[in-house]
Amino acid sequence: MPKERLKIKGLVRITQTDEEGNETVIQDWTENRFCNGMLKYLWTLMSGLNLNHSTDGVYFGSNNVQIYVGRDTVTSTTFDMSELDDPIGVAPGIAPNVIDGVGYRNPATNVYTVRYLGQWFPGTISGTVGEIALYLNVFNGGSFLWQQATGTAPHTMVSRLSNADGELTPFAIDTTKTLTIEWIIRMDF
């Protein structure tokens, strides 16, 4: 029978790959820290009435899913953070050249996940990384039976992995290689 509660966790993996396909694991699967943005997004899904849209549409969380990296190594993650402390590039950061994802469910093994992937081509980003973040469009809804008209919700950091929290070893990006960050959000009973 199902357990009473749902648990949600996020896992991050960082690799660099040369042009011959040789992969170097910078950071193997490590748990992220969630911020208010993720809780607010899930909460709005359960309190809302509808998204009242025209042909222009209303955008959901993954419309502009992004992964950004930053330099900060001393600022611990707090639940009310909404952006990287010191992004590489103009805030919110340098977007990956490739952003992709896949939803996966297997009730037999009790695995329900979404896996996001961000990829920067060689030479498109440089610096020493001390923090990375997952961003989604988070609905503005703030009341029971809220509705949203056509438009895009604010782009907000929903989870973070940082050296300051002891979960990410700072690393210098090898600009001759592709940088890949995989981010899994997993739900379990």
Partner: protein, 189 residues
């Protein structure tokens, strides 16, 4: 903050009866939350339409079953009280708690059955229903041309049962209102 926990607390008041319990979530609720972590957009093919969120078909139904454990893929009450899915509440309302300052986000649904709306029978199960979209494809797009909008109808999200030991059975006092407060809470662990 490495995990998010989702809890469903239920409070039942009926005359002299006061019961509290914790629900069991079903697989479709996980799919629903996951679908909005993979989804891209709701839009209409023509004119203004809506894409439903959970509260579009928010409901609560009661049943008499005392022996059937909750299964992940359940779709309704085993022995509904009333015809069809079961008797609907006379009124449905709700409140939300914004967790911006605390990291605890709640939505409380309040279902009221007026005195006499339900027969004086034994309650052994109750279910929370809502409108849930179940597409886990990355960047799925929901194009809706149907007036007034797209709904998936009532889908069972969680259940509270005597069989699982979630609460003790009681006989409805049909001279008093029966009020069910169902609170879904998102918080950090």
């Amino acid at each position: 903050m490495t995990h998010i926990e989702v809890i469903g607390n239920v409070k039942i008041t009926n005359g002299e009866i006061h019961i509290i319990g914790e629900n069991r979530f079903l697989e479709r609720l996980i799919q629903h939350l996951l679908s909005y972590l993979t989804g891209r957009q709701g839009r209409s093919s023509t004119g203004t339409r809506y894409t439903s969120l959970f509260c579009n078909t928010l409901n609560c139904r009661l049943g008499e079953d005392l022996v059937s454990h909750t299964q992940r893929d359940m779709v309704g009450m085993v022995t509904p009280i009333g015809a069809g899915l079961g008797t609907e509440p006379d009124t449905i309302s709700g409140t939300v708690t914004d967790g911006s300052g605390t990291g605890i986000w709640r939505v409380k649904y309040i279902f009221t059955f007026n005195a006499g709306s339900l027969p004086a029978v034994t309650v052994g199960e109750m279910g929370l229903y809502g409108d849930m979209y179940l597409n886990n494809t990355f960047k799925w797009l929901r194009s809706c041309g149907t007036l007034p909008g797209c709904t998936e109808g009532e889908i069972l999200a969680s259940r509270l049962s005597v069989a699982d030991g979630d609460f003790g059975s009681f006989i409805i006092d049909d001279t008093a209102p029966l009020v069910i407060e169902w609170t879904i809470e998102f918080s950090f662990v």
